[in-house]
């Protein structure tokens, strides 16, 4: 029973992270009909940035053999900078990722949004490989770990809750609620929903679709980067860490509906709990089986309920809007 309870708590904590992790993927798909296969790489970038900001500069100088950056590191050493808390680094990660996403949409994705799905699928697939390999050139393939000062766990009777995972869970809930309020209460958020629901009508009331798309993409990349930071203290950070997240994002979106925030939470929890239960109760192969479970759920849902379990920004549909 305790083992079950423990697995349940771990599953819920993981599910909260998954919900935050999937937002960017789900909203981009829901708003502009682009299935972003480079989603996992944005998580990887966020995680690497958390690593960069949290390590002391002398260690980075030794690890990254980039002469060009040495003056920066030397300067940071001279002022006695020792790295910052990874959660604090969100205030840099999110704006940087926003700008990156905004420019990516403005100069690249906006050119393919009107084209058939296959085109944007191939473009984002290409981006995913490009991003992973550039990261490898820059950071090498060695797995990195991100440390925080407050490891340890909260003990409640016979079950424990890791501090970091609890913080991540709370952070995820904050992200979900903030995004919900943004989309429903602000003029910009409403214009994003309008563009998702009826593109022509949105144009007609004077919404500049290209700009709204660029802002949406920037926002989604920023949220995804933040998720990458949040996962970085609990798993290895390396250039090829992205694809399993993209796969999970597919599953959760299929479970919860396109662009639906409550759906992301429900889908995230279902997947998080399923994976943790399998990893806990299936001996030996459980951990590897967990990711298989994700794919099986995806296939099962696509066959039985292609519109998702909850409705989102718009119904799940593959055909082109006109």
């Amino acid at each position: 029973m305790d083992q079950f309870l423990q697995a349940l708590i771990n599953g819920i904590l993981l599910g909260g992270f998954y919900a935050a992790m999937v937002l960017g993927f789900s909203i981009i798909w829901g708003v502009m009909g682009v299935i972003n296969l480079s989603h996992g790489e944005f998580i990887m970038m966020g995680a690497f940035m958390a690593w960069l900001f949290s390590e002391p500069p002398d260690y980075l100088m030794e690890q990254l053999k980039f002469e060009a950056l040495n003056p920066i590191f030397t300067y940071l050493i001279s002022i006695g900078y020792q790295g910052m808390d990874p959660f604090l680094s969100l205030i840099i990660i999110m704006p940087v990722m926003f700008c990156f996403g905004y420019l990516l949409q403005k100069f690249l994705i906006n050119r393919v949004v009107e084209k058939p799905h296959l085109v944007s699928l191939l473009v984002t697939f290409g981006l995913s490989i490009t991003f992973a390999n550039i990261s490898k050139l820059f950071f090498s393939a060695s797995p990195r770990s991100v440390d925080v000062a407050y490891t340890g766990a909260i003990r409640m009777g016979d079950v424990t809750m890791s501090n970091i995972k609890a913080i991540v869970f709370v952070g995820a809930l904050i992200m979900l609620s903030a995004l919900y309020l943004f989309l429903h209460r602000t003029r910009l958020g409403k214009s994003i929903r309008a563009a998702a629901q009826n593109k022509n009508a949105a144009r007609m009331v004077g919404i500049e679709i290209d700009t709204v798309y660029a802002i949406t993409f920037g926002l989604c990349v920023a949220l995804t980067g933040a998720a990458g930071m949040m996962i970085s203290p609990t798993q290895a950070v390396f250039p090829y860490m992205g694809p399993p997240f993209t796969l999970r994002a597919f599953t959760i979106t299929a479970l919860g509906g396109l662009g639906s925030i409550p759906g992301a939470l429900v889908g995230g929890l279902v997947l998080g709990i399923t994976e943790t239960m399998i990893a806990t109760f299936v001996p030996r192969i459980g951990t590897n089986l967990a990711i298989v479970a994700s794919f099986s759920i995806l296939v099962f849902i696509l066959i039985t309920r292609p519109q998702g379990l909850l409705s989102g920004l718009r119904p799940m549909e593959m055909e082109e809007g006109t």
């Binding site: 409403k190 214009s191 309008a194 629901q197 009826n198 009508a201 949105a202 007609m204 009331v205 718009r314």
Partner: protein, 246 residues
């Protein structure tokens, strides 16, 4: 319906010799039309004649290759929808244009997207809801769950949010039951009388459309073929044979 005498009035909207198309081929080959302030003008014509295309070009959705559009003394040829809205033209397109997963109130709010003054938006919402009691009862309902007629009314209401001088309506009665169609036309005529709204509409339902209008145009194969007052067109033998069922 009585004929408007606009002898010394300048047209509010003047489209002159418009050429436009979706591919290299011009669907519109020299369409011209004029709408005077306070008029209801109806465009009729067979399917595929290019009626909707005319509206799309006026509204800046489709590039005008030749010709000019003048509105309220100002040239608006190939302006963006946002600039057209600011000039004072609203649009109710042929295809459903509500935001289905927004409430009635939010949909109306989107009609004033280009303005930021929240107080003014709230006032306009109340004003428009006052014009359409059926919408007022449903202000918190998701627009996508309303009936076809209610959705049409919402589209018209949304188009009125910015206090336009001219409203373009593409087949406002399409797909609606006769009773609802009559109600929509009554609303249009009432708005025309009460707030002096100028209306340019396309109607499949030619007789009813012309009866509700001051003047009409017949569009065929991307060109004007006839024009006149509503009654003149209804009485014209050829127009009758072609569009009014004998």
């Amino acid at each position: 319906m009585s004929t408007q005498t606009n002898g010394n009035n300048k047209p509010l909207l003047e489209a002159k010799d418009i050429y436009a198309g979706y591919t290299d081929f011009d669907i519109l080959q020299g369409v011209s039309l004029e709408v005077y302030p306070g008029e209801i003008v109806c465009v009729i014509g067979p399917n595929g004649a290019g009626k909707s295309t005319v509206f799309k070009t006026i509204y800046g959705f489709l590039k005008i290759r030749k010709g000019t559009v003048i509105f309220d003394g100002q040239e608006i040829t190939n302006k963006r929808p946002q600039q057209i809205l600011r000039a004072g033209i609203s649009n109710v397109p042929q295809l459903r244009s509500i935001f289905p997963q927004m409430t009635v109130k939010e949909n109306l709010e989107m009609g004033m997207y280009i303005e930021k003054d929240k107080k003014r938006i709230a006032e306009r919402i109340e004003y428009v809801l006052g014009l359409f009691p059926r919408l007022a009862e449903r202000r918190a309902q998701m627009a996508g769950t309303m009936s076809g007629g209610e959705q049409r009314m919402l589209e018209i209401g949304r188009a009125l949010m910015l206090e336009p001088k001219l409203i373009l309506m593409d087949e406002p009665s399409a797909g609606l039951a006769p009773l609802i169609t009559r109600m929509i036309f009554e609303n249009v005529e009432r708005l025309n009388k009460e707030i002096g709204l100028t209306v340019l509409m396309i109607e499949q339902n030619a007789r009813q459309g012309l009866e509700a209008s001051h003047r009409g145009y017949v569009l065929e194969l991307g060109q004007n073929s006839y024009q006149g007052t509503g009654q003149e067109l209804i009485n014209n033998a050829e127009v009758r044979r072609a569009f009014l069922g004998g």
